[in-house]
Symmetry: C2
Subunit: 367 residues, 2 copies
């Protein structure tokens, strides 16, 4: 067993496998291709766990990540990030060896792709269904048609369908709002599919943010399902109602270095360079960067929200506690912290440790 002496990202493999299985079965039940997003775990080893559940196609969020997973045996990859035309040489190299899909949302990038694509490349058009981050607004069919006409000039390029990320489910104030935002996006995507079905009989709809993927059950007309965060889940998802506490598969395990009785604060080795800085609102109205698990009488216990990771600087984390729990924690203890946003926390780790005691490298050493 590896001895933990520094902040360590630990995965409960059993919970993680359950999360993957549940989502794979959901995709199957709704006749959707499961193309999970690998940006959350960014690890070839965790990727292998997906293979047990029949996954052979993946989503990534950068060309570098596509290169990493291609090197690790994945040969059907969608880069779910609007085409960065400066990376065309890398994209051509990748497309020489794997089935590669890219995203387009403007004519400028479509023109570069049409001019430079040397190997077969699939294209999804990125549609904005209300998140207002990026993508083509539904009403602008002129842009859609212009892109389709442009890429038709290069026979290597195949139009696959329409893709959206319903990221505004993350801002939902209730699960009802997640349902309504997903349903609204679904209607929009289906209307788009209907409009282009005649010209492109194989046109697909690709969807799948984790909040809606976890709780919604209407996926009629959806061809592809791309959630990512669900592999680990986190407090943000739990807070949204997308998962329960027992579904969260990851912890940061951090050494206690100091205690301050006058403030009932415990200082851990574990800061912004280990957790990243996303927070949710705690019950006291203050930012919460993590929930705390300590051992009491030999049993692990999740503490209530009066005990939480309340501040982060580069390497320090400050845990606020109740006086009673303060007394249970000692300098040199290891404390488990449930992270707020597992994607960004995982991104900072060079390796993960599993509850089986296995140390897993991540793409961080490659990217």
């Amino acid at each position: 067993m590896i001895e933990i002496i520094r902040p360590t990202f630990v995965i409960d493999k059993e919970v993680c496998l359950q999360n993957i299985e549940r989502m794979a079965e959901k995709a199957k039940a709704h006749n959707m291709r499961f193309r999970p997003h690998f940006k959350t775990h960014q690890s070839a080893k965790v990727g292998e766990w997906f293979r047990h559940f029949g996954v052979d196609a993946i989503t990534v969020s950068s060309v570098g990540m596509a290169e990493y997973f291609a090197m690790n045996g994945w040969d059907d990859i969608t880069i779910a990030f609007s085409l960065n035309i400066l990376e065309m040489a890398h994209i051509n190299r990748l497309a020489a060896s794997v089935k590669l899909n890219v995203l387009l949302e403007n004519k400028e990038a479509a023109e570069v792709l049409a001019a430079k694509a040397q190997n077969p490349i699939g294209v999804y058009l990125k549609i904005d269904t209300g998140y207002n981050r990026t993508g083509i607004p539904l009403s602008r069919t002129g842009i859609i048609d212009a892109i389709l006409d442009t890429i038709a000039a290069n026979k290597k390029i195949t139009f696959k369908g329409f893709l959206t990320h319903t990221g505004h489910t993350y801002a939902a104030r209730s699960t009802n709002e997640i349902f309504s935002r997903q349903f609204d996006a679904l209607l929009k995507m289906k209307s788009l599919k209907a409009a282009y079905l005649k010209r492109f009989p194989k046109v697909e709809i690709s969807m799948g943010d984790t909040p809606s993927a976890s709780i919604c059950s209407n996926f009629s007309g959806v061809d592809e399902f791309r959630p990512g965060n669900f592999v680990f889940y986190d407090l943000m998802q739990q807070n949204l109602g997308a998962c329960s506490m027992k579904d969260i598969a990851v912890r940061m395990v951090c050494p206690v270095v100091a205690k301050h009785v006058s403030r009932n604060e415990v200082v851990i080795y574990g800061g912004a360079v280990h957790f990243a800085k996303d927070s949710i609102l705690n019950t006291d109205g203050k930012p919460l960067f993590g929930r705390i698990i300590i051992e009491k009488d030999g049993e692990k216990q999740l503490l209530d929200t009066n005990n939480y990771l309340s501040r982060l600087s580069q390497e320090h984390g400050i845990i606020k506690t109740t006086p009673a729990n303060f007394r249970e924690i000692n300098v040199g203890d290891l404390i488990e912290v449930i992270p707020v946003h597992s994607c960004l926390t995982a991104n900072l780790a060079k390796t993960y440790l599993t509850t089986d005691g296995e140390e897993i490298p991540t793409a961080n050493t490659y990217l």
Copy 2:
């Protein structure tokens, strides 16, 4: 010249060298040992630049970082982070080959150090002068005496002095407040030094957050000076009045991937995994994650705060612009973004690029 195709951390070496020189001269003018904090740049190559200005002693914030810089020729290192007793084996190994100082702030850690130190180790006591993050509150001389008695049991350990990080200067609402907080901390540290001078004639005071190090000029009685961020500076420091815009030595250079005319928003490849997520308040009351520089008529121009990095997700950044500037920016352009918090932004880079065209590895590949 290296072609930039992905988000890239770029250092203006000339500005960086000026920042180092200015701070080295300040230390010299006030007869302080300059022991710069290397947690901001975390790079052996940038470390070498300090040698030109006579620096031979450094500060780091983790044992791993100490190991990295020891491997790279530094032999006088203070780990300015309260002793993590779980890392004693690493600390003993380090202390076998370099002059190592560690921080103590409680009796528990002091006892472990006294029991386990095998090689000469210097000790500073971490004092809380008002930041309330960690350290011994000034009034608790009982703890100070207990730690001093404890470490006296091991002849390998030498008490060096008192160290503080006046981090509450970062929350100052004016430069006046930076002055008053530094002065308050200085008085506290001097009173401590006076109280222990008889028993420890060589007792030192070590101080030096970047805001006060940059603007204050009263360092009477201070023996050691440990600022770190000044090497790069950033918008947070500029916002505090600790530096001017021209002192900021770093940029994130990011490709433009999309434009949304209905919102006057530009989408860059450059997100939370490149910038980290610290923000300052913009003039419009909204969080600002970076200021924007674009080329106009062949000249670089810093845009006003109506144009700023306004949102970050994992890989995407959203720049809000005025309509006029929106028209100047094209898909495929490279945009320069001045980061809010250079320490956390630099921490995410695997390599830096200098304006001389040199690619510099960072500790990220080691840590």
